[in-house]
Amino acid sequence: MLGLILRRLSISAVILLIVSMLVFVATLLLPGDPAQAILGQQATPERLEALREQMNLNDPFAQRYLHWLGGLFVGDFGVSAASGGSVAALLGDRIAASLVLMALAAAISIPVGILVGTYSALRRGRAGDHAATGISLVLAALPDFVIGIALVTLFSTTVFTVLPSVTMAPPGEQVWDYPSQLILPVLTLVLVVMPYIIRMMRTTMIEVLDSGYVEMARLKGVPERQVIVRHALPHAIAPVAQVVAIQLAWLAGGIVVVEFLFRYPGVGQALVDAVTNRDVQVVQALAMLIAAVYVVVNLLADIVGIVTNPKLRTGGIR
């Protein structure tokens, strides 16, 4: 088992490494000189040269890459061309804010999604199931900003005006000091993520419920509740963990739109701003960050899959 996990771990590391190369090479495609970009009109040849030296722009490509990569490990993401400040300082608070948003969304959507999905599978073909699948089918189709704007129209601006539609912690205070402002962004994320969990949970549960061993358990006279809890659910965990992982990873990217919509001061908004300003260092750092979240979450799901599968756990076949 440990070997398998280590293998997955090293694959993840390699993937991240290649992503980092990709992201780094992207900068080389940009026209213009980053030092020039930072200095702007103030660029005298001497200053340019000094800044280039400082930014290692004179080094060969490979060396620059390694330097940048090394910086990532110690939290040095370079200097933002737009603000002139360090990228790490720029992102510090925003990462925390985004994590709060993601964690809240995950904490709601995962258990509720699993419950609704299981309920739906158990009531297959009945009204409750139809309602759950129908609604999740519609929600799954809607782009996140559509859901967000619908919620804003409904709760903030047009129908009811009960909830704030933008996040605006007064300077110096944290977003989570104002819980009412978190409701709509979190709700949007939940509504975007949950349908997938519901659908996957339902499909998986139905598959498991139709399996030979669940039929066997019923034919053994095992009470239905025990059939579900002991025989069905454990088998649904691994596939659902995969979906949850994909959704969490999606959250890492999906918060971009939601944060932009609600002006939530997280990494997503920072990313949009950075792209708008062509602030390459920030875009790079955020792309790496989000890729890392994605890879780690998927790794965790794989590990859950390995741990819940006795075949893999005992180092059996495969």
């Binding site: 061993y213 066997m216 358990a217 095992v222 009470p223 239905e224 002991r230 599968n309």
Partner: protein, 554 residues
């Protein structure tokens, strides 16, 4: 029915006029009645789709998703109608007084639960014994009963750590743990090797008789029926067409369908014809001009005694796992050789090496003195034409998106020497050879039955008029009656075209029906080879002998 009344035995379960329909209202069991008695075994025989499993599960008051009970009763020894009970009431009986052994233990054992726990679960659910200790003792006991180790370490194993035979024993142990009155066994030995099957059957027989359990044994295999059952009920399309003591039914069948079914069962001794072809071997010499001429369907003529196909020191490994450990044999023109082996013996691998489908082997395959390249793509078009291969499953070997004509045409297309018109003529000729009407040319596999598909697949192999036809388990996916017709066809073709044939199978009973020579494969080696009769009557290798003793026969 009449035979049951004569018996002075206690009725454990009586199914009367069982009717089951799909959710859409289509009836699939049309009033099935049977009686199970203590200490006796009823075999429910039928081909796929006959409704035998549905009937068996109805004995537990269980209907699969999409099916519903629409009529009839299942009365227990105390007179209660199982089907009138609530869900909870039925649940109390399932696994308790009525238990079930599933067809495929690999799918029916919960892969995430230790086997001991799974058996204990039955005992706990139904409250066996007074204490946990009592249940533990019973667990150990029942494991011994089915011939498994009963130590704690074994109980802690996961299903995937057991062999197929062991898994099935666990399934039986689970069914037997609560000392049921009735046991329903759904094809419990299908998929097991003959040797394992024999042992499992023995265990079942022992349990049923010594503990006076009433057994319902669901199977498609008439040979197995004769081994285990006291009574037989033959099912066809949701009805029982014939029922009676097994010796009577098997030896003096009344219903036409039963007769047809029995007629189609291959027989190791080659005593009767399956289909319309008489057994090849028996008293006949391997190659006999006279016999060939006089037989209703002639045995092929071997013009030249020189070998056509020669396999020498064929070896193949996947990693460290050696599948073939040096296979040598010769095949003469017009000769038919059976390659017999159980799963894992390497028989299919060997066949694929010959056909060039497996190009990683070492050793040599020669055709008429020319050593062939390993892969089909390296072989010449001529060489490819001369060796043809028919796959095991006709469900898989035809592209469902192409018409039969298109599929059969492929070999011609690739030879590239024929015009469109010629190709069509050749395809029609091949279809005619396999007794498929010309209209099949534009049909797709989905519109064909399994037997028809296999014919079409054979037609594809014939279209280039091969010298050697390699048939890989071509009948194993088919019902026994269809199998007979295919065997029939192959024999006819062999005679008509004079091609040599390598017939790969696990079913030793087919030997005398098909092949002049028999090679027994075991663990990647040929352990016995020779004229079929010689091998069957005078097996040289202990493995062959063991195999022969375990073959169930009618």
């Amino acid at each position: 029915m009449r035979t049951l009344i004569e018996q002075q035995t206690e009725v454990a379960l009586q199914a009367t006029d069982l009717r089951v329909a799909t959710a859409l209202g289509k009836e699939i069991l049309h009033g099935v009645s049977f009686t199970l008695q203590r200490g006796r075994m009823l075999a429910l025989v039928g081909e796929s789709g006959s409704g035998k499993t549905t009937a068996g599960l109805a004995c537990l008051g269980y209907f699969r998703t999409g099916l519903k009970h629409v009529g009839g009763t299942v009365e227990l020894s105390d007179g209660t109608d199982l089907l009138a009970l609530t869900d909870a009431g039925r649940r109390g009986l399932r696994g308790g007084s009525i238990s079930y052994v599933p067809q495929d233990p690999a799918l029916s054992l919960n892969p995430a639960m230790r086997i001991g726990t799974q058996i204990m679960e039955v005992l706990r659910v139904h409250g066996y014994g007074a204490s946990e200790q009592a249940r533990r003792n019973r667990l150990a006991e029942v494991l011994t009963d089915v011939g498994l180790p009963n130590d704690a370490a074994y109980q802690r194993r996961w299903p995937h750590e057991l062999s197929g035979g062991q898994q099935q024993r666990v399934g039986i142990a689970m069914a037997f743990a609560f000392r049921p009155e009735v046991m329903v066994m759904d094809e419990p030995t299908t998929g097991l090797d003959v040797t394992t099957q024999a042992l499992v059957l023995q265990t079942i027989h022992q349990l049923v008789t010594t503990h006076a359990v009433a057994g319902l044994y669901i199977t498609h295999d008439l040979a197995v029926v004769s081994e285990v059952a006291d009574e037989v009920a033959v099912m066809l399309a949701g009805r029982i067409v014939e029922q009676g003591r097994s010796d009577q039914v098997l030896h003096d069948p009344q219903h036409a369908y039963t007769r047809k079914l029995l007629n189609a069962v291959p027989d190791l001794a080659g005593r009767h014809h399956i289909g319309e072809v008489e057994a090849v071997t028996g008293a006949m010499p391997i190659v006999s001009r006279e016999r060939a001429a006089s037989a209703r369907v002639a045995t092929p003529v071997v013009a030249e005694p020189t070998s056509l196909l020669s396999v020498a020191d064929l070896r193949l490994s996947y990693g460290t796992n050696a599948v073939l450990n040096g296979i040598d044999f010769e095949l003469g023109r017009g000769e038919s050789l059976m390659l017999l082996g159980e799963s894992g013996s390497g028989k299919t691998t060997a066949a694929r090496c010959i056909a060039g489908l497996n190009d990683t082997y070492t050793g040599s395959v020669s055709l008429a003195g020319t050593t062939l390249q390993p892969g089909t793509r390296q072989r010449s078009a001529e060489e490819r034409h001369r060796i043809q291969y028919v796959f095991q499953s006709p469900m898989s070997s035809l592209n469902p998106r192409r018409t039969i004509g298109e599929s059969v045409e492929v070999p011609l297309h690739m030879s590239g020497t024929f015009s469109r018109k010629e190709r069509r003529a050749l395809v029609l000729e091949a279809l005619d050879q396999v007794q498929l009407a010309a209209s099949f040319i534009d049909r797709r596999p989905g519109q064909l039955s399994g037997g028809e598909r296999q014919r079409a697949a054979i037609a594809r192999a014939l279209v280039n008029a091969p010298s050697v036809l390699v048939c890989d388990e071509v009948t194993s996916a088919l019902d026994v009656s269809v199998q007979a017709s295919i065997i029939d066809l192959l024999r006819t073709l062999q005679v008509e075209t004079g091609m040599a044939m390598v017939f790969v199978t696990h079913n030793i009973a087919l030997a005398r029906h098909l092949s002049q020579r028999l090679a027994v494969l075991h663990a990647g080696r040929i352990v016995d080879i020779g004229p079929t009769d010689d091998v069957l009557e005078n097996p040289q290798h202990s493995y062959t002998r063991e195999l022969l003793t375990h073959v169930p026969t009618l």
